[in-house]
Symmetry: C2
Subunit: 255 residues, 2 copies
DNA sequence: CAGTGGTCTAGACCACCGC
DNA sequence: CGGTGGTCTAGACCACTGG
């Protein structure tokens, strides 16, 4: 080894750049990203101030700011003027409702209540293993979940969770679970959901699905197939949500 | 007037900032935005280089770069390394297809062909006048349009266009129109479509709609209600697109 | 090769927040 | 008030693009 490590936190050396084809701020962003992924900087808390980071990495303030801007646009950090730079907390949940407009007696947009209809452990099929990045024959936890507003069933969900990771959910009492899963993932399993991809499509309800949603067999439904990712950008949840197609409403921005 | 105008293009003066509560780069961005809206800088062409802008506005390079970054994130400008900074051309069109997966004989994603079914001039109703920012009783052009792939009808559209602006389309031969409307708006009417909002929902086809799409009455359909905006961010097109719900497929990013 | 945007520096001062 | 991020400067040098 030629380069000598400095006393700084994750030192890239001072007068040389161990990066091959990367910009310095790109390298810094990668370095700081890994400090988040490895748990040195934890979600919800502040990271060291810019000035300190600049000094410890041996770069100018502006360079650190560029690196931080990258992580902000990645959604990993959040800056608050006069206060500090914070690691973003995970997704709050209730994000499924943005696809639907359900009538409520009151005006308040309360999060729907949630009931687990079934929970079983089984082997992942090929598609699931592929999407979750699991080896063939890995086991998963499969949940069926009904979400209701004012005791009116409105969303039917099927979730697939990789099992070593979500083991804590395989045994606990499902009637005591939170209405929002993502904060619970974080609390119980240490899994932070950071982003998701929702694929929207259309179908008709099977007899069983219709019964659970209190609709008729063959009723049109909107289907949301979600892949949710953790901080390290690995898919850790597959979810299929069904709801009345006539309650579906979503606005997409173009360009 | 105390401040003396410099020789620069849209001079903000040198040592003072005529802005009330705004940052300097925010003011610069607004100034440059108006140079685009007023047609001094035209879509598709390069604006003056940063160094020249910095000198003519009497600010540092970094400040100009911040202002440019704002306009880039607004989608008004596009930067190309080693080449220049360009005013973005309008939306290309064919963007409706991103909501649908239509089977084609070949694999190629060609733009669907387009046929105008009807064209009439009438008074805008309240909703239309409101959305388009028109006075009550203004007139609009209403078009019905069928889009087909491989001679197979797939999308049925109804468009509402404000009339003083799109007068050139009210008389011309519709059989000679382009398949893509937005480039034609720009060429024929000087209207640049810059962004759009698409509201998605589901419904069932009326008898007339079904006939035009070669489907059955009551067949489930996806509805895309679009509001399209020009560079000045004024709504200049309302469009409702209907297509087979079973061909609907769209992916949304969460956070 | 000349001209463009991209990176980086080492400062200064300002605006906001919480105590 | 002290500490944070936000704005701004006036340079230097690098990397890409095109003729």
């Amino acid at each position: 080894m030629i380069s000598q490590q400095k006393t700084s936190a994750a030192s890239p050396g001072r007068s040389q750049q161990p990066e091959p084809g990367q910009s310095r701020y790109g390298w810094l962003a990668a370095a700081m990203r890994s400090r988040i992924l490895q748990g040195e900087w934890v979600p919800g808390e502040a990271i060291p101030p810019e000035a300190l980071l600049a000094k410890s990495y041996g770069v100018a303030l502006g360079t650190i700011r560029q690196a931080l801007a990258l992580l902000v646009s990645d959604g990993l950090l959040e800056r608050r003027h006069g206060t500090g730079t914070f690691v973003k907390a995970g997704l709050g949940g209730a994000s499924m409702l943005r696809f639907f407009r359900f009538r409520q007696s009151g005006e308040l947009q309360t999060s729907p209540s949630s009931r687990i209809l079934s929970r079983k452990r089984r082997l992942a099929n090929l598609d699931e293993a592929d999407a979750l990045g699991l080896p063939a024959g890995a086991s998963v936890l499969v949940l069926e979940r009904l979400r209701s507003i004012d005791k009116q069933p409105c969303l039917l969900e099927r979730l697939v969770l990789p099992l070593p990771l979500f083991e804590a959910l395989a045994e606990s009492d499902t009637t005591a679970w939170d209405d929002l899963l993502y904060p619970m993932y974080q609390r119980v399993c240490g899994v932070v959901i950071h982003r998701a991809e929702d694929q929207l499509s259309f179908d008709q309800l099977t007899q069983q699905q219709a019964r659970r949603l209190a609709l008729e067999t063959g009723h049109p439904c909107a289907r949301v197939q979600r892949r949710a990712f953790d901080l390290a950008n690995r898919c850790v949840e597959l979810r299929t949500t069904l709801g009345d197609a006539f309650a579906f409403e979503y606005t997409a921005q173009v360009r």
